[in-house]
Amino acid sequence: MAGSIGIPQLIFCAIVAALFYRYVLSPPQASGGSGPTSGRRPRATVSQTDIDSVRVMFPQISVAAIRWELEKNGGSVPATTEKILNDGFLPEPPASVTRQTPSPLPPSVNSEPGSLGGTGRSQAPASSSSSSAATTIGHSDLVTRYNLHSRLETHRPGTSAEQLSSSPKKNDKASLFIRGRERRDLMVLEARKKMEGMLRR
Protein backbone atom coordinates (compact mmCIF):
# COMPACT_ATOMS: atom_id res chain seq x y z
CA MET A 1 0.00 0.00 0.00
CA ALA A 2 0.93 3.63 -0.45
CA GLY A 3 0.86 4.12 3.30
CA SER A 4 3.95 1.99 3.76
CA ILE A 5 6.18 4.48 1.90
CA GLY A 6 5.47 7.89 3.34
CA ILE A 7 7.38 11.15 3.14
CA PRO A 8 9.60 10.40 6.18
CA GLN A 9 10.79 7.19 4.55
CA LEU A 10 11.49 9.01 1.30
CA ILE A 11 13.52 11.65 3.08
CA PHE A 12 15.42 8.96 4.94
CA CYS A 13 16.22 7.19 1.69
CA ALA A 14 17.36 10.44 0.15
CA ILE A 15 19.70 11.13 3.08
CA VAL A 16 21.14 7.63 2.93
CA ALA A 17 21.65 7.97 -0.81
CA ALA A 18 23.29 11.36 -0.38
CA LEU A 19 25.65 10.07 2.31
CA PHE A 20 26.44 7.03 0.21
CA TYR A 21 27.24 9.23 -2.77
CA ARG A 22 29.25 11.67 -0.67
CA TYR A 23 31.49 9.17 1.08
CA VAL A 24 31.60 6.14 -1.14
CA LEU A 25 31.43 7.45 -4.66
CA SER A 26 33.14 10.82 -4.64
CA PRO A 27 36.69 10.11 -3.44
CA PRO A 28 37.76 8.23 -6.57
CA GLN A 29 36.09 10.95 -8.61
CA ALA A 30 37.94 13.73 -6.85
CA SER A 31 41.33 12.13 -7.16
CA GLY A 32 40.64 11.27 -10.76
CA GLY A 33 41.90 14.63 -11.95
CA SER A 34 38.98 16.92 -11.21
CA GLY A 35 39.90 20.58 -11.22
CA PRO A 36 39.77 23.00 -8.32
CA THR A 37 36.27 24.04 -9.31
CA SER A 38 34.76 20.66 -8.47
CA GLY A 39 32.11 20.99 -5.85
CA ARG A 40 33.91 18.91 -3.28
CA ARG A 41 36.05 21.53 -1.67
CA PRO A 42 35.25 22.29 1.92
CA ARG A 43 37.92 24.93 2.39
CA ALA A 44 37.83 28.61 1.54
CA THR A 45 38.59 29.47 -2.06
CA VAL A 46 41.84 31.34 -2.30
CA SER A 47 42.34 34.12 -4.80
CA GLN A 48 45.45 34.26 -6.93
CA THR A 49 45.94 37.85 -5.76
CA ASP A 50 46.27 36.75 -2.16
CA ILE A 51 48.72 34.01 -3.09
CA ASP A 52 50.72 36.49 -5.16
CA SER A 53 50.85 39.02 -2.36
CA VAL A 54 52.29 36.43 0.02
CA ARG A 55 54.62 35.13 -2.68
CA VAL A 56 56.03 38.59 -3.32
CA MET A 57 57.12 38.85 0.28
CA PHE A 58 58.40 35.31 0.56
CA PRO A 59 59.60 34.10 -2.82
CA GLN A 60 61.28 31.11 -1.18
CA ILE A 61 58.00 29.55 -0.11
CA SER A 62 56.18 27.37 -2.60
CA VAL A 63 52.85 28.42 -4.01
CA ALA A 64 51.32 25.11 -2.97
CA ALA A 65 52.27 25.72 0.65
CA ILE A 66 50.91 29.28 0.56
CA ARG A 67 47.65 28.10 -0.99
CA TRP A 68 47.33 25.33 1.57
CA GLU A 69 47.89 27.72 4.46
CA LEU A 70 45.44 30.29 3.05
CA GLU A 71 42.83 27.58 2.63
CA LYS A 72 43.32 26.49 6.20
CA ASN A 73 42.98 29.93 7.74
CA GLY A 74 40.11 31.12 5.59
CA GLY A 75 42.13 33.20 3.13
CA SER A 76 43.77 35.58 5.59
CA VAL A 77 46.96 37.04 4.16
CA PRO A 78 48.05 38.69 7.45
CA ALA A 79 47.66 35.40 9.34
CA THR A 80 49.72 33.59 6.71
CA THR A 81 52.44 36.23 6.81
CA GLU A 82 52.46 36.09 10.57
CA LYS A 83 52.89 32.34 10.50
CA ILE A 84 55.79 32.51 8.06
CA LEU A 85 57.49 35.17 10.17
CA ASN A 86 57.04 33.15 13.35
CA ASP A 87 57.96 29.72 12.04
CA GLY A 88 60.28 30.71 9.24
CA PHE A 89 58.54 28.34 6.85
CA LEU A 90 55.20 26.89 5.85
CA PRO A 91 54.48 23.17 5.89
CA GLU A 92 54.06 21.65 2.44
CA PRO A 93 50.53 20.38 1.81
CA PRO A 94 49.88 16.63 1.75
CA ALA A 95 50.19 14.94 -1.63
CA SER A 96 46.43 14.63 -2.14
CA VAL A 97 46.08 18.39 -1.99
CA THR A 98 49.03 19.14 -4.21
CA ARG A 99 47.46 17.13 -6.98
CA GLN A 100 44.40 19.35 -6.91
CA THR A 101 46.20 22.64 -7.11
CA PRO A 102 46.51 24.14 -10.56
CA SER A 103 49.72 25.48 -12.06
CA PRO A 104 51.78 27.19 -9.35
CA LEU A 105 52.05 30.75 -10.65
CA PRO A 106 51.36 32.40 -13.96
CA PRO A 107 54.27 31.26 -16.14
CA SER A 108 55.37 34.82 -16.78
CA VAL A 109 56.14 35.24 -13.10
CA ASN A 110 57.76 31.92 -12.60
CA SER A 111 59.98 31.49 -15.61
CA GLU A 112 61.31 34.95 -16.22
CA PRO A 113 64.74 35.36 -14.75
CA GLY A 114 64.16 38.96 -13.74
CA SER A 115 60.92 38.42 -11.92
CA LEU A 116 60.20 37.83 -8.28
CA GLY A 117 59.56 34.14 -8.41
CA GLY A 118 62.88 33.30 -10.04
CA THR A 119 63.99 29.75 -9.56
CA GLY A 120 67.01 28.34 -7.84
CA ARG A 121 66.83 30.60 -4.84
CA SER A 122 66.73 29.28 -1.34
CA GLN A 123 66.95 32.30 0.85
CA ALA A 124 67.09 31.66 4.56
CA PRO A 125 63.79 32.80 5.99
CA ALA A 126 63.32 35.00 9.04
CA SER A 127 66.71 36.25 10.02
CA SER A 128 66.60 36.20 13.76
CA SER A 129 69.38 38.70 14.22
CA SER A 130 67.40 41.60 12.80
CA SER A 131 66.73 44.51 15.07
CA SER A 132 63.66 44.27 17.23
CA ALA A 133 61.70 47.17 15.85
CA ALA A 134 62.58 46.99 12.18
CA THR A 135 60.19 45.29 9.84
CA THR A 136 61.48 41.96 8.67
CA ILE A 137 59.86 40.82 5.50
CA GLY A 138 61.21 39.99 2.06
CA HIS A 139 64.65 38.90 3.02
CA SER A 140 66.33 38.89 -0.33
CA ASP A 141 68.02 42.06 -1.45
CA LEU A 142 67.00 43.49 -4.81
CA VAL A 143 70.15 42.40 -6.66
CA THR A 144 69.37 38.82 -5.68
CA ARG A 145 65.64 39.15 -6.17
CA TYR A 146 65.97 40.37 -9.74
CA ASN A 147 68.96 38.16 -10.51
CA LEU A 148 71.32 41.03 -11.31
CA HIS A 149 74.61 39.68 -9.95
CA SER A 150 75.89 38.92 -13.42
CA ARG A 151 75.24 42.48 -14.55
CA LEU A 152 76.98 44.17 -11.62
CA GLU A 153 80.41 44.22 -13.28
CA THR A 154 79.27 45.22 -16.74
CA HIS A 155 76.96 47.99 -15.58
CA ARG A 156 78.23 51.49 -16.22
CA PRO A 157 76.80 54.23 -14.05
CA GLY A 158 74.60 56.69 -15.86
CA THR A 159 73.13 54.28 -18.40
CA SER A 160 69.45 54.82 -18.82
CA ALA A 161 66.86 52.59 -20.39
CA GLU A 162 66.56 54.96 -23.33
CA GLN A 163 70.21 54.58 -24.25
CA LEU A 164 70.04 50.81 -24.12
CA SER A 165 66.99 50.20 -26.24
CA SER A 166 67.57 51.12 -29.84
CA SER A 167 64.01 50.43 -30.91
CA PRO A 168 61.57 53.34 -30.95
CA LYS A 169 59.13 53.72 -28.09
CA LYS A 170 56.19 51.40 -28.44
CA ASN A 171 53.17 51.56 -26.26
CA ASP A 172 51.69 48.10 -26.57
CA LYS A 173 51.46 46.14 -23.35
CA ALA A 174 54.30 43.72 -24.07
CA SER A 175 56.91 46.36 -24.86
CA LEU A 176 55.75 48.46 -21.93
CA PHE A 177 56.54 45.52 -19.68
CA ILE A 178 59.95 44.99 -21.26
CA ARG A 179 60.84 48.65 -20.83
CA GLY A 180 59.42 48.71 -17.32
CA ARG A 181 61.45 45.72 -16.17
CA GLU A 182 64.59 47.14 -17.75
CA ARG A 183 64.05 50.43 -15.96
CA ARG A 184 63.52 48.58 -12.68
CA ASP A 185 66.74 46.57 -13.09
CA LEU A 186 68.72 49.68 -14.02
CA MET A 187 67.42 51.53 -10.97
CA VAL A 188 68.61 48.71 -8.73
CA LEU A 189 72.03 48.60 -10.40
CA GLU A 190 72.39 52.39 -10.13
CA ALA A 191 71.43 52.32 -6.46
CA ARG A 192 73.94 49.55 -5.82
CA LYS A 193 76.75 51.54 -7.50
CA LYS A 194 75.78 54.62 -5.55
CA MET A 195 75.81 52.72 -2.28
CA GLU A 196 79.20 51.16 -3.10
CA GLY A 197 80.50 54.69 -3.68
CA MET A 198 79.03 55.94 -0.42
CA LEU A 199 80.58 53.10 1.54
CA ARG A 200 84.01 53.67 0.01
CA ARG A 201 83.99 57.25 1.23
Binding site: V56, T136, L142, G180, R184
Partner: protein, 192 residues
Protein backbone atom coordinates in the same frame (compact mmCIF):
# COMPACT_ATOMS: atom_id res chain seq x y z
CA UNK B 1 8.13 18.06 -5.42
CA UNK B 2 6.59 20.27 -2.82
CA UNK B 3 9.86 20.92 -1.06
CA UNK B 4 11.63 21.54 -4.33
CA UNK B 5 9.14 24.17 -5.43
CA UNK B 6 9.41 26.02 -2.19
CA UNK B 7 13.12 26.46 -2.66
CA UNK B 8 12.92 27.30 -6.30
CA UNK B 9 11.89 30.95 -6.09
CA UNK B 10 14.40 32.26 -3.53
CA UNK B 11 17.13 30.38 -5.35
CA UNK B 12 16.41 32.16 -8.61
CA UNK B 13 16.40 35.53 -6.93
CA UNK B 14 19.67 34.72 -5.22
CA UNK B 15 21.22 33.64 -8.49
CA UNK B 16 19.99 36.74 -10.28
CA UNK B 17 21.32 39.12 -7.66
CA UNK B 18 24.59 37.23 -7.52
CA UNK B 19 24.85 37.50 -11.28
CA UNK B 20 24.13 41.20 -11.11
CA UNK B 21 26.71 41.93 -8.42
CA UNK B 22 29.26 39.80 -10.24
CA UNK B 23 28.68 41.84 -13.37
CA UNK B 24 29.02 45.15 -11.54
CA UNK B 25 32.19 43.92 -9.91
CA UNK B 26 33.50 42.85 -13.31
CA UNK B 27 32.88 46.25 -14.89
CA UNK B 28 34.50 47.96 -11.93
CA UNK B 29 37.54 45.72 -12.12
CA UNK B 30 37.78 46.34 -15.86
CA UNK B 31 37.67 50.08 -15.25
CA UNK B 32 40.37 49.78 -12.64
CA UNK B 33 42.55 47.74 -14.97
CA UNK B 34 42.12 50.30 -17.76
CA UNK B 35 43.07 53.15 -15.50
CA UNK B 36 46.07 51.23 -14.16
CA UNK B 37 47.30 50.47 -17.66
CA UNK B 38 47.23 54.16 -18.54
CA UNK B 39 49.02 55.05 -15.31
CA UNK B 40 51.64 52.42 -16.05
CA UNK B 41 52.14 53.76 -19.55
CA UNK B 42 52.53 57.26 -18.16
CA UNK B 43 55.07 56.10 -15.56
CA UNK B 44 57.19 54.28 -18.12
CA UNK B 45 57.06 57.03 -20.75
CA UNK B 46 57.72 59.92 -18.38
CA UNK B 47 60.22 58.62 -15.91
CA UNK B 48 60.25 60.24 -12.51
CA UNK B 49 63.58 60.12 -10.74
CA UNK B 50 63.83 57.66 -7.93
CA UNK B 51 60.59 55.77 -8.36
CA UNK B 52 59.51 52.73 -10.33
CA UNK B 53 56.17 50.97 -10.28
CA UNK B 54 54.60 48.30 -12.42
CA UNK B 55 52.50 45.14 -12.30
CA UNK B 56 54.32 42.11 -10.96
CA UNK B 57 52.81 39.85 -13.55
CA UNK B 58 51.37 40.70 -16.94
CA UNK B 59 48.12 38.96 -16.19
CA UNK B 60 47.30 40.69 -12.93
CA UNK B 61 47.11 44.45 -13.07
CA UNK B 62 45.82 44.76 -9.51
CA UNK B 63 49.10 43.89 -7.81
CA UNK B 64 52.16 46.03 -8.48
CA UNK B 65 55.67 46.12 -7.21
CA UNK B 66 57.43 49.42 -6.75
CA UNK B 67 60.83 50.80 -5.90
CA UNK B 68 61.42 53.99 -3.98
CA UNK B 69 64.89 55.46 -3.77
CA UNK B 70 65.98 56.64 -0.34
CA UNK B 71 65.90 60.45 -0.40
CA UNK B 72 69.31 62.17 -0.44
CA UNK B 73 70.70 63.70 2.77
CA UNK B 74 68.76 61.25 4.90
CA UNK B 75 69.92 57.96 6.41
CA UNK B 76 67.80 56.26 3.73
CA UNK B 77 70.08 57.63 1.01
CA UNK B 78 71.45 55.07 -1.41
CA UNK B 79 68.88 52.44 -0.49
CA UNK B 80 66.27 51.20 -2.93
CA UNK B 81 63.16 50.29 -1.00
CA UNK B 82 60.78 47.78 -2.49
CA UNK B 83 57.07 47.64 -1.82
CA UNK B 84 53.90 46.16 -3.21
CA UNK B 85 50.83 48.12 -4.20
CA UNK B 86 47.56 46.26 -3.94
CA UNK B 87 44.70 47.91 -5.79
CA UNK B 88 41.08 47.39 -4.82
CA UNK B 89 38.56 46.47 -7.52
CA UNK B 90 36.97 49.90 -7.25
CA UNK B 91 40.24 51.77 -7.82
CA UNK B 92 40.53 54.76 -8.25
CA UNK B 93 37.55 55.34 -5.97
CA UNK B 94 39.35 53.60 -3.13
CA UNK B 95 43.07 53.98 -2.49
CA UNK B 96 45.61 51.20 -2.99
CA UNK B 97 47.43 49.60 -0.11
CA UNK B 98 51.16 50.10 0.01
CA UNK B 99 53.34 47.65 1.85
CA UNK B 100 57.12 47.56 2.06
CA UNK B 101 58.64 44.20 1.24
CA UNK B 102 62.06 45.01 2.60
CA UNK B 103 63.35 45.56 6.08
CA UNK B 104 62.57 49.12 7.05
CA UNK B 105 62.39 51.12 10.24
CA UNK B 106 60.17 54.16 10.12
CA UNK B 107 57.67 55.75 12.51
CA UNK B 108 54.91 55.71 9.88
CA UNK B 109 55.38 52.15 8.67
CA UNK B 110 53.66 49.36 10.57
CA UNK B 111 55.83 46.44 11.62
CA UNK B 112 54.22 44.37 8.83
CA UNK B 113 55.40 46.91 6.24
CA UNK B 114 52.08 48.68 5.63
CA UNK B 115 52.54 52.38 5.08
CA UNK B 116 50.37 54.82 7.00
CA UNK B 117 50.13 58.21 5.30
CA UNK B 118 47.22 60.48 4.59
CA UNK B 119 47.27 60.08 0.80
CA UNK B 120 46.47 56.38 1.27
CA UNK B 121 43.41 57.10 3.42
CA UNK B 122 39.98 57.72 1.90
CA UNK B 123 38.53 61.11 2.90
CA UNK B 124 35.83 59.42 4.98
CA UNK B 125 37.61 57.91 7.94
CA UNK B 126 39.69 60.29 9.94
CA UNK B 127 38.42 60.32 13.51
CA UNK B 128 41.12 62.74 14.65
CA UNK B 129 40.54 65.16 11.77
CA UNK B 130 44.18 66.09 11.71
CA UNK B 131 44.58 65.26 8.05
CA UNK B 132 43.07 67.82 5.71
CA UNK B 133 40.82 66.42 3.00
CA UNK B 134 43.03 67.75 0.23
CA UNK B 135 45.93 65.50 1.16
CA UNK B 136 43.79 62.39 1.42
CA UNK B 137 43.07 59.85 -1.27
CA UNK B 138 40.82 60.87 -4.13
CA UNK B 139 40.54 59.61 -7.71
CA UNK B 140 42.68 62.49 -8.94
CA UNK B 141 45.64 61.10 -7.01
CA UNK B 142 47.83 58.56 -8.74
CA UNK B 143 50.46 55.91 -8.17
CA UNK B 144 53.14 58.45 -8.96
CA UNK B 145 51.84 60.91 -6.35
CA UNK B 146 51.56 58.14 -3.78
CA UNK B 147 55.17 57.09 -4.31
CA UNK B 148 56.41 60.67 -4.18
CA UNK B 149 54.51 61.15 -0.92
CA UNK B 150 56.11 58.03 0.49
CA UNK B 151 59.51 59.36 -0.53
CA UNK B 152 58.93 62.58 1.36
CA UNK B 153 57.55 60.57 4.25
CA UNK B 154 60.88 58.74 4.40
CA UNK B 155 62.68 62.07 4.58
CA UNK B 156 60.35 63.61 7.15
CA UNK B 157 58.72 61.11 9.48
CA UNK B 158 55.63 62.26 11.29
CA UNK B 159 56.21 60.96 14.79
CA UNK B 160 52.80 62.08 15.97
CA UNK B 161 50.87 59.44 14.06
CA UNK B 162 53.13 56.60 14.96
CA UNK B 163 52.31 53.38 13.14
CA UNK B 164 55.41 51.78 14.60
CA UNK B 165 55.58 52.85 18.23
CA UNK B 166 59.11 51.56 18.80
CA UNK B 167 60.37 53.39 15.76
CA UNK B 168 58.63 56.62 16.81
CA UNK B 169 60.17 56.41 20.25
CA UNK B 170 63.62 55.70 18.87
CA UNK B 171 63.25 58.51 16.35
CA UNK B 172 62.44 60.94 19.15
CA UNK B 173 64.75 59.76 21.91
CA UNK B 174 67.70 58.00 20.29
CA UNK B 175 68.17 59.52 16.84
CA UNK B 176 71.67 58.13 16.39
CA UNK B 177 70.53 54.56 16.88
CA UNK B 178 67.52 55.09 14.60
CA UNK B 179 69.75 56.44 11.84
CA UNK B 180 72.18 53.58 12.26
CA UNK B 181 69.49 50.97 11.83
CA UNK B 182 68.00 52.83 8.88
CA UNK B 183 71.43 53.00 7.21
CA UNK B 184 71.85 49.27 7.68
CA UNK B 185 68.41 48.65 6.17
CA UNK B 186 69.33 50.85 3.20
CA UNK B 187 72.55 48.89 2.60
CA UNK B 188 70.67 45.61 2.80
CA UNK B 189 68.20 46.61 0.09
CA UNK B 190 70.98 46.60 -2.49
CA UNK B 191 72.79 43.60 -1.03
CA UNK B 192 75.66 45.33 0.72
Amino acid sequence: MFIGQQHHAPNTILKLSLNFSLQTAATMAAKAARRLLSEYRELINNETDGIYAGPISEDNFMLWECLIAGPPDTPFEGGMFSATLKFPDDYPLSPPELKFTCEILHPNVYPDGTVCISILHPPGDDPNMYESASERWSPIQSVEKVLLSVMSMLAEPNDESGANVDASKMFRDDRARYENIVRRCARKTVGL
